[in-house]
Amino acid sequence: MVEPVSPLGPAHRPGRHGNPASGIGVTLSETRPGSIVEAAGWPGAEKALIAAIRKATGLALPDGAGGGTTAKSRSAFGIAPGKFLIVDQAEGAAEALRAEIPIETGTVTDLSHGRTALRIAGPKAEWVLAKFYALDFSLPAFPVSAGRATVHHDIFTQIQRTGEDQFDLYVFRSFARGFWTTLCHGAEEVGYEVR
């Protein structure tokens, strides 16, 4: 088994950075899941798709726009009508989903290498994210487990709120290092720790 290489390279500098007077406003990390998979159902087959995802992963997705669910090492959320992103710390989710989702229901696309998962957590997470995205990150507008697809300049991002003050960001791998640098830059004001 060959461990995939992180795209962050030298930009990933563990430790405390930014304004020392601010404490640690956010913690930044790369969660490196083994599987990131997009499952898409044909119009009318959404319920069958949700059932298949549940069978393959145990994740029970709500049937609403941007709805999501999180379990210990897995999570899933809606990214578009009839489309979901399923994330698992373990490898092999794409195969498991393919086994449960016949072509009559929909399709499965493995993005495990194509997307990079970055986590921002801490009391200033909403503040730092608001610098980059025109999204309302407040808890009532963006509940825990829900997902949103948005963009920071050219950097397309799918975001899941995985805790009251924790968000997982999925960006295209080629953009990851540049975006990580930008994220760190934006977090300097509030002080941050890289894990």
């Binding site: 060959v2 290489v5 930014g18 601010s22 495990s112 025109a134 999204l135 309302d136 295209f172 975006f179």
Partner: protein, 997 residues
């Protein structure tokens, strides 16, 4: 010394002294001072030279409306010009300088313009310089000669050339209610809105909240208004759902109740905290907006109204009460309304002597009369100021009897000594944001002002903005507006008690005193009342034309003090009423916004860029990286001492003779899946894909609907219902969008999903006669010989324990393979290939070598598929299937697209042994002196190692018929002219025996 610090009073911190410099001289002020108040406290009243005439100018206002006192702030070598001194908070080490003067503010050559004043009236530059050349001293050519001198003499501050190291950030905010302005109305509105968990943002452009409460001297609920405001602020600050944004100017009101605001985070500090931005640009999306932006006082227009020492009455009051600064020791006030009397009394209380109050009206209210008594000094009603004396500082005024109805001046002018003249021409509600988000403003005859228009977005007005000029009304309106905006019921609590003088808010309709001498309307652009009348005489009827011709209201202050007087003078000249003349619409920004704040983090090191999985390897191995769109790609892997050409020639030769490897991860890759995937591909490609067997790839061409070539690439069938489409690097996004468009809007019945997998796969192309041996040396789980892996075949296997998919296809014309693996394994597989290739002399190659080999082969890329060429132009007509319709098939045979004289792809060979340039024209007859007669252009060029010549691809009219003929490149910009031979675009191995071999 005239102006100066009052012995006591003001809300500055007298215990804290702050040192700053202005024009190289060091001064002292107090914490809480603006640059304007601190300079006045130091007796500096002349702070600027005017735009056109270089006249001495002082401080007119105390806020964002300041037209005159513009200075340049220096931070190191970084210059920020045209900042109103009234908006600069002083700090230790602040460095500022005056503008538009040479050699110094006190002695200025440009002031000669003032003597030639009549020459520089409205339209002077147009009349003198524009149009045909008539004689030596007129016309556009003369302008080109004079421009340098004029540009130096006229204008505002000078921008710097240094890189601004400050950090600028953007911020997005969402709220239920945004309150703009923190005067009594805004504070009341914010409090009323902050109920039941409603999210409220209160934005105030000044550093301290409170608005007029800071200097009104009134009493609210038994305490001083300023203290009442501080208490409200503290109360709001303690509410979890309220965000207070001081130093934040809301400058734009856009669709969808989206507002733009600029927060000046640390302009008032000597040093920024680590990571703290200088400015934060807020985009605020508000459910409802309360506009409580107050009103601007406007000056009266009379001769000499621009001398330093002439100031708005409200500003004079504010300097005295808020900053403890006397704008003069002996003050005359000149007004057409009651508000000035409160200023007079305040100035007297602060320690100034009031020489006279001159009121153009004959009658004044009892409240005003009482305040006049309190202020002392002579009260001259039915009088007007007709002249001022003093050049660099006011020394006195002339006053005459004045009849407002007839505008007749009578009696002998009387001189009154004064070092400050506080004027007021009434108040104009600050309706700028409402004008951006509403219909035309409404003229109010009683208040002699434009009131806010009917909203076209969800906002509610309150306070002076709405024409409510007493604090009592203002608080009541604010409370109601806040409650309505929050969707709450209006509070039944008793409104606060306000103790204030009873004054009449209505001014007399007097805007200008017509007497001899220059009377300024727009102080920032040096527009006089006579300029406005001249424009009228020259036929400028529309207020929009007037504005552009005279430049009235077009300076950095956007005419906050000059718009209404200018309109009034225009209306008077035209014999119309003000509403008949109308007003211009206010546009964003309300106040200046630095470009840095708009560009924010999208520049320099933070510009988005894309890296391939092998990026670090390339850099470590000497690649020179090249920007291709957002991607960084290796251009060459140069050896020490090599030129770019030497490097790519070496790389190309090694590939043609042995083997090379290139990173192709940037190619666009789209997963196309579904029961109808093959049918879909048949429709979007010109050729058939439904007949493609599994584990085979095919080269495909797409057209746009009108028949023009769009993109090309190979598409691989990985399973019955699963294809992997590749696109050119540059068009990946466009192709994706193209496919999504057809699936969503044209063929929704097709069951096809597309997903971008560009970043999922790392790709390496192994090319050259020895590539098969290299692949065989490291490949596990599959054979790679001709049988197992024929041309355009696909196999799956493992390299260095990593699963890979290999397709045998060629861009270089050599035997070649594209090897794909998960992007996270890219570097691992790449290194394994390098290791396997070492015994064969493998080299990595970059874009230059890639480009050279494709030119030698005559393959097209974006330079040829340029949005103007057809498949036939590119000799790709063999790809146009006749067995099915496809996108573009209906339109591609139109007459103009099949004409014989269209540009066609050809090869060109340099006959003078010099390099060709992409973009050079092809001409039949060479005439470097008078370049003309283009029959096409070079699209790509290189040195061809296999031919030993400089070659290129070109698009040339009737190109195929020209094979074997001579032509020339004509490239006047790069001065490259020379003969070429036009040949077939297949320079090398036209049969393709090498890649099939």
């Amino acid at each position: 010394m005239s102006a100066g610090r009052a012995p006591s009073g003001g809300r500055i911190d007298r215990a804290r002294s702050i040192r700053f410099t202005f024009d190289g001289r060091s001064y002292s002020g107090h914490a809480g001072d603006t640059l304007a108040s601190a300079l006045l406290a130091n007796g500096v009243s002349m702070v600027a030279r005017s735009f056109k005439y270089h006249r001495p100018r002082g401080v007119l206002s105390a806020g964002v409306d300041e037209p005159s006192a513009l200075v340049t702030v220096l931070r190191g070598k970084v210059r920020e010009p045209n900042v109103p001194a009234t908006q600069i908070e002083i700090f230790d080490g602040l460095v500022t300088e005056s503008q538009n003067r040479f050699p110094s503010l006190d002695f200025d050559f440009g002031a000669m313009n003032s003597l030639a004043g009549d020459l520089f009236s409205a339209g002077f530059y147009y009349k003198t310089f524009m149009g045909p050349v008539i004689g030596p001293l007129r016309g556009t050519r003369f302008w080109m000669f004079c421009e340098w001198f004029i540009r130096r003499a006229a204008g505002l501050g000078r921008a710097g050339h240094e890189r601004d190291p400050a950090r600028y950030e953007r911020m997005n905010a969402f709220c239920d209610v945004l309150v703009v302005g923190s005067g009594p109305a805004g504070l009341a509105a914010a409090k009323a809105a902050a109920v039941g968990g409603k999210r409220v943002i209160l934005a105030e452009q000044e550093p301290v909240l409170g608005g007029s409460a800071k200097w009104s001297g009134e009493t609210i609920d038994g305490i001083e208004a300023a203290e009442w405001a501080s208490a409200r602020e503290a109360e709001l600050a303690g509410m979890p759902d309220v965000r207070l944004l001081p130093r934040t100017a809301v400058w734009g009101y856009y669709d969808g109740n989206t507002l733009a605001a600029l927060e000046r985070v640390n302009d008032h500090k000597a040093d920024a905290a680590p990571g703290e931005p200088r400015h934060r640009h807020w985009t605020i999306r508000a459910g409802a907006v309360v506009l409580a932006t107050g009103a601007f006082e406007r000056p009266l227009v009379f001769p000499g109204n621009d001398v330093p020492g002439v100031m708005l009455a409200g500003a004079a009051e504010r300097y005295a009460v808020e900053y403890g600064v006397l704008p003069g020791r002996r003050i005359v006030l000149f007004t057409n309304n009651d508000s000035t009397y409160r200023a007079a009394a305040a100035l007297r209380r602060a320690g100034a002597a009031i020489a006279a109050i001159i009121d153009a009206r004959r009658e004044i209210s009892a409240g005003a009369r009482q305040l006049a008594q309190e202020a002392g000094g002579e009260l001259l009603t039915g009088h007007a100021v007709v002249a001022t004396s003093g050049r660099k500082a006011l020394s006195g005024i002339s006053v005459q009897r004045y009849d407002a109805a007839s505008e007749v001046l009578s009696g002998e002018p009387r001189q009154i000594e004064a070092d400050c003249l506080a004027v007021s021409g009434g108040w104009s509600p600050a309706i700028h944001l409402a004008s951006q988000a509403g219909q035309a403003p409404q003229w109010d005859e009683r208040l002699q002002a434009f009131l806010p228009p009917k909203p076209t977005q969800n906002w509610i007005g309150a306070g002076a903005f709405d024409g409510a000029f007493t604090t009592r009304e203002t608080i009541a309106e604010g409370t109601a507006a806040g409650a309505t905006a929050a969707g709450a019921r209006a509070s039944r609590a008793k409104p606060p008690e306000v103790e204030a003088p009873e004054l009449d808010a209505a001014p007399a309709p007097i805007f200008e005193i017509k007497a001899k001498g220059k009377a300024f309307v727009d102080l920032q652009h040096d527009v006089t009342a006579e300029d406005v009348r001249l424009a009228h005489r020259e036929g400028f009827v529309s207020v929009e034309h007037l504005k552009r011709y005279t430049t009235l209201g077009m300076a950095t202050d956007q005419g906050k003090t000059s718009n209404v007087p200018g309109l009034a003078i225009m209306a008077d000249a035209a014999g119309k009423s003000i509403p008949e003349v109308g007003t211009t619409r206010f546009r964003p920004p309300f106040s200046s916004v630095p470009l840095g704040a708009l560009a924010a983090e999208r520049h320099g090191d933070l510009k988005p860029e894309r890296l391939t999985p092998m990026h670090d390897w390339h850099v470590e191995n000497g690649a020179r990286m090249y920007t291709a769109g957002l991607w960084l790609r290796p251009q060459i892997y140069g050896l020490p001492g090599e030129t770019v050409e030497q490097a790519y020639v070496r790389e190309t030769r090694t590939v043609r003779d042995g083997v090379g490897i290139v990173d192709v991860s940037t190619l666009g890759k789209i997963a196309v899946q579904g029961p109808d995937a093959a049918e879909f591909l048949d429709r979007v490609y010109t050729n058939l894909f439904s007949t493609l067997p599994v584990n085979k790839a095919r080269y495909g061409l797409m057209l746009r609907e009108e028949g023009i070539a769009f993109d090309d690439g190979t598409t691989w069938r990985l399973a019955e219902h699963e294809f992997l489409m590749t696109t050119t690097t540059a068009n990946a996004g466009k192709v994706m969008q193209h496919l999504e468009y057809y699936l969503d809007t044209v063929w929704p019945e097709l069951r096809v999903h597309v997903a971008s997998v560009t970043d999922q796969w790392a790709g390496a192309a192994l090319s050259g006669p020895k590539s098969r041996e290299v692949l065989a040396a490291c490949m596990k789980g599959t054979a790679v010989g001709d049988d197992a892996l024929p041309f355009m075949g696909i196999v799956h296997g493992e390299i260095a324990d990593v699963p890979v998919t290999v397709c045998r296809l060629s861009f270089s014309g050599e035997l070649a393979y594209e090897i794909y693996c998960g992007a996270g394994h890219g570097i691992h597989v790449w290194e394994a290939l390098m290791e396997a290739g070492e015994p064969f002399g493998i080299v990595p190659y970059g874009l230059e070598a890639l480009g050279t080999m494709r030119i030698e082969k005559g393959h097209v890329t974006g330079a040829e598929i340029d949005g103007r060429t057809t498949a036939r132009d590119l000799h790709l007509d063999w790809m146009l299937s006749k067995r099915k319709p496809f996108i573009g098939s209906a339109m591609m045979d139109r007459e103009g697209l099949v004409a014989p004289d269209r540009i066609q792809l050809v090869g060109v060979v340099s006959l003078d042994n010099r390099a060709l340039n992409g973009g050079a024209h092809i001409v039949e007859e060479l005439d470097p002196e008078n370049p003309r007669g283009s029959v096409g252009h070079v699209t790509a060029a290189c040195y061809s190692p296999v031919l030993g010549k400089y070659i290129g691809l070109a698009l040339v009219k009737g190109g195929k018929a020209r094979h074997g003929t001579r032509a020339h490149v004509s490239d006047p910009l790069r001065k490259r002219f020379g003969p070429v031979e036009i040949v077939s675009h297949h320079f090398f191995d036209p049969e393709g025996s090498r890649m099939h071999g």
